[in-house]
């Protein structure tokens, strides 16, 4: 029996000679290079986003997926990497992306009309090669539609980016790539943060609108607390340490004219949960010099 197996093995190795080196040899794929997602909490949680692998981020609407996408785009374009975004429902907002720090000149935006086009476009981009970051945004596609994508499509993507320096990010409402993804993060929105009402204290939630008196001009949307939970990982970062497996809290969004509260305002840092504040995207748009605006 053993000799028969050895014969079969040598036969397979001979037939694959020149095409595949050591087909039965163990290849350690766990140690991968990772890049920053632009959000320190996620980097600490997952060790960054892996290159040459598929990363899946899923969650319901308004759960913070786009926040992660924009942060990663901003981080990658700041490193002069060429990025591509396959937008399945044409929902990308360049204005907020630029405000988030994305260098739009470095971004190839593919506006698709549906799932089929998106998958084909992503395939073309991956096959084209050379992109540092490719995002496939299926966030607005109904989960029951994405569920029909055969698993071999994700497997094909995973194999296509393997041995490349591309970070492939998949945004969905539900996890579909299963084991094809090297890293799976689930996003959840915890709470929206509103600025103070004229009579309220700073960072206090505004009064219900039915309550009177209420001045909606004075109540600004500061942002939202977002929680990222690592569902699955099969990688070990070689350049970024991972803090833990528990969920982390992220606060992203708007801070009004009042100074951002900081971590102490809405959460406590721990080994498994960290939080931070983000500045309003409008506040630094307004701070932009007039010359820059004109240009």
């Amino acid at each position: 029996m053993r000799s028969a197996l050895a014969t079969l093995r040598s036969h397979v190795e001979l037939s694959l000679a020149g095409r595949i080196v050591a087909p039965f040899g163990y290849r350690d794929r766990k140690s991968v290079e990772t890049v920053s997602s632009g959000i320190p909490e996620i980097d600490a949680l997952a060790g960054g986003l892996p290159r040459g692998a598929l990363t899946e981020i899923y969650g319901p609407a308004c759960s913070g997926r786009t926040t992660v996408l924009l942060s990663t785009l901003a981080a990658r374009t700041a490193q002069a990497e060429v990025c591509a975004l396959v937008d399945a429902r044409d929902s990308f907002d360049p204005r907020s992306a630029e405000a988030a720090g994305v260098e739009l000149q470095q971004l190839l935006w593919v506006r698709c009309r549906g799932l089929d086009q998106s998958l084909r476009a992503a395939d073309l981009l991956i096959q084209g090669g050379g992109f540092g970051f490719i995002a496939l945004d299926l966030s607005d596609i109904a989960p029951e539609t994405v569920r029909h994508v055969p698993l071999n499509a994700w497997f094909r993507f995973r194999r296509a980016v393997e041995d490349t320096s591309t970070v492939l990010l998949l945004l969905e409402q539900e996890s579909n790539a299963k084991t094809c993804a090297s890293l799976v993060l689930q996003m959840k929105r915890k709470a929206a943060r509103w600025s103070a009402t004229p009579k309220g204290a700073a960072n206090e939630r505004p009064a219900e609108i039915s309550r009177d008196p209420f001045f909606p001009h004075a109540c600004l949307l500061e942002g939202a607390d977002v929680q990222a939970e690592m569902i699955h990982t099969r990688m070990q970062s070689i350049n970024m340490p991972r803090a833990g497996k528990g969920p982390v809290s992220i606060t992203a969004g708007f801070s009004g004219s009042a100074a951002a509260g900081g971590a102490a305002d809405f959460g406590s840092n721990s080994d498994t949960a960290q939080s931070f504040s983000a500045q309003s995207i409008w506040s630094y748009l307004h701070a932009m010099p007039v010359e820059a605006k004109l240009k």
């Binding site: 959000i39 319901p60 609407a61 308004c62 759960s63 926040t67 992660v68 924009l70 942060s71 002069a80 060429v82 044409d90 929902s91 990308f92 360049p94 204005r95 992306a97 405000a99 988030a100 720090g101 260098e103 739009l104 000149q105 470095q106 190839l108 935006w109 593919v110 506006r111 086009q117 476009a121 073309l124 981009l125 084209g128 050379g130 540092g132 109904a142 989960p143 320096s165 409402q173 929206a192 939630r205 609108i209 039915s210 009177d212 209420f214 909606p216 109540c219 600004l220 949307l221 939202a224 969004g253 951002a260 983000a278 500045q279 309003s280 995207i281 932009m288 010359e291 004109l294 240009k295």
Partner: protein
């Protein structure tokens, strides 16, 4: 001082065969004339051996089943002549345009580049083969000797100084291109070779044939000297092909396009140039049926144009014919010609080849050629307007963006691998914060919604079959503009919506009941209705 003459035997035939690769090695006869009086004007040795004769009627030539009959193409001859000149300029800037089928190249100073004259001649033969031309090449110290040897001797010939008369002596006298009367006289005298002509006494020859006789005598002895008349290098790269039958399918057309692109790229390579743009011009067949069909529809009474033009602008100079063919095919797939094609002209806008020294520590970027192909494929998939780099417009109008052609930073910075450091970029990078900004997803177009107000504030929102209670709101933020053209006037609200338990899953907002969402809604004062602009995600 050495000169190399390059001569293309059966030039008219070779010009046609060059455009139709399948004719290589076959008997070909070229006919010309006004229909139906077509007669054979040129034939290759294969055809002559079979029995084709010059001046034979086309109907007679058609009796020879092994002979391929083609019509003479002046355009292809012109292109072949240009290719011949490119061959000369590929090795030396000093080229003489002697005739349609002959050029002379000055070989002075080329030794350091190519080696001795023999090697140069062999290199020329190799390059001419790559251009689709089978050439005879002769190198000699005298221009005329080189020309005569190229016309008369097959392959590559090198004539050493002092051997001119001896090497030319075996050539037939018609290689000197005498007038028909003189040729007839020489034939009557029994003078058939240059050697026989050179042996005649020059004074007696002068008495009988005049100055022309003396000139022919000097040529036959290999003693005629003159200066090189330099041709001006042209930047004209055009190849064209007329089709016997109209071609409608892109698959069939791409084969012919590939052939033309191969020729163009070979010519560009010969001149160490690349193409910055490819201009395609197609002559369309005038089809009575199609015109009748188009006139039958009242709303589409538009005549099919006779010509169809397309320009393929390349981000970086290229001369890879296979890549160019893919790009051309994708362009034609996305915008196909309206009728069958009977003639096509491809011209290249020449430019210096791309030379880029990438830095070791720069991040990887797609190869510009590959990127162009990928973008062309994407444009073919999702439409040209849906691929590119978004650019914000200088207006407060919501979602005012334009799509620009995506270009690599290296291209923008002039191929030096430097990031552009415009003041705008500097300011933006200075203003960028390390904290994440809340992501925003747009609904294009805005989703119609119904909003119930309470004390002037949004209290309940209905959209996409969902109902939600507004638990917090901020606004209204008034925005308007462009009153002189396409004005907008809107009042925006940021709202936090608590969806009710009866909420149904929808296409855009598939989420379980009892959840909250952050949305941007607006009241459009011009459309008098509420809409959802997007969601904070």
């Amino acid at each position: 001082m050495f000169f190399a003459a390059i001569h293309i035997p059966d030039f008219i035939v070779q010009a046609v065969v060059r455009g139709e690769f399948s004719l290589h090695g076959r008997a070909v006869a070229i006919v010309e004339g006004t229909p139906p009086l077509w007669s054979v004007v040129a034939a290759n040795p294969h055809a002559l051996r079979i029995g084709i004769e010059l001046g034979m009627a086309k109907s007679q030539a058609a009796q020879f089943t092994a002979v391929e009959i083609r019509h003479r193409s002046l355009a292809q001859e012109k292109a072949a002549h240009e290719a011949l000149l490119d061959l000369g300029w590929s090795v030396s800037p000093r080229v003489e345009d002697t005739a349609a089928d002959t050029i002379v190249v000055d070989l002075v100073g080329l030794g350091a580049l190519f080696g001795p004259e023999e090697k140069i001649a062999q290199e020329l033969a190799k390059r001419s083969a790559s251009l689709g031309l089978s050439a005879r090449i002769a190198a000699a110290q005298s221009i005329e000797v080189a020309i005569l040897a190229a016309r008369g001797l097959a392959g590559v010939t090198l004539i050493a100084p002092g051997e001119e008369a001896q090497r030319l002596s075996a050539l037939p006298v018609h290689t000197l291109l005498p007038s028909p009367e003189i040729l007839e006289t020489l034939a009557r005298w029994g003078v058939e070779t240059c050697g026989a002509l050179a042996a005649l006494p020059v004074i007696q020859l002068s008495e009988r044939l005049g100055q022309e006789g003396v000139r022919l005598h000097t040529l036959a002895r290999g003693e005629f000297t003159r200066s090189l008349v330099l041709a001006r290098p042209s930047v004209y790269f055009q190849e064209e092909m007329e089709l016997d039958d109209a071609v409608e399918e892109l698959e069939s057309l791409s084969f012919l396009l590939g052939r033309l692109l191969d020729q163009l790229c070979e010519r560009l390579a010969a001149r160490s140039l690349s193409a910055r743009a490819i201009r395609m011009e197609f002559e369309l067949e005038r089809s009575f049926e199609k015109e009748l069909q188009s006139c039958a529809h009242p709303g589409q009474q538009k005549l099919i144009p006779r010509k169809f033009e397309k320009v393929l602008v390349l981000p970086v100079p290229m001369r890879d014919s296979k890549l160019l063919l893919k790009l051309v095919r994708l362009r034609l797939q996305s915008d196909p010609p309206p009728a069958a094609i009977i003639k096509m002209i491809l011209s290249a806008e020449p430019d210096r080849p791309r030379t880029t020294q990438r830095g070791l520590f720069l991040p990887a970027a797609p190869e510009p050629e590959k990127l162009e192909l990928t973008m062309a494929r994407l444009a073919n998939l999702v439409g040209d307007a849906n691929v590119g780099s978004p650019q914000l417009m200088d207006t407060h109008r919501p979602d005012a963006i334009r799509m620009e052609r995506f270009r690599l930073a290296q291209e923008i910075a002039g191929g030096r691998g430097k990031k552009s450091s415009t003041p705008t970029n500097r300011n933006r990078s200075e203003l960028r914060v390390a904290k994440p900004a809340n992501g925003f997803r747009l609904f294009r177009p805005g989703l119609p919604a119904r909003v119930e107000l309470r004390n002037g504030l949004p209290a309940r929102v209905f959209f996409q079959g969902q109902r939600g209670e507004v638990v917090a709101a901020s606004g209204p933020w008034r925005t308007s503009g462009d009153w002189w053209q396409e004005p907008w006037d809107q009042a925006e609200w940021d709202v936090e919506v608590q969806f009710s338990s009866v909420a149904q899953k929808t296409k855009l907002l598939a989420e379980p009941a009892r959840v909250r969402g952050l949305y941007l809604i607006y009241y459009d004062a011009r459309q008098l209705g509420w809409f959802l602009r997007g969601a904070y995600d």
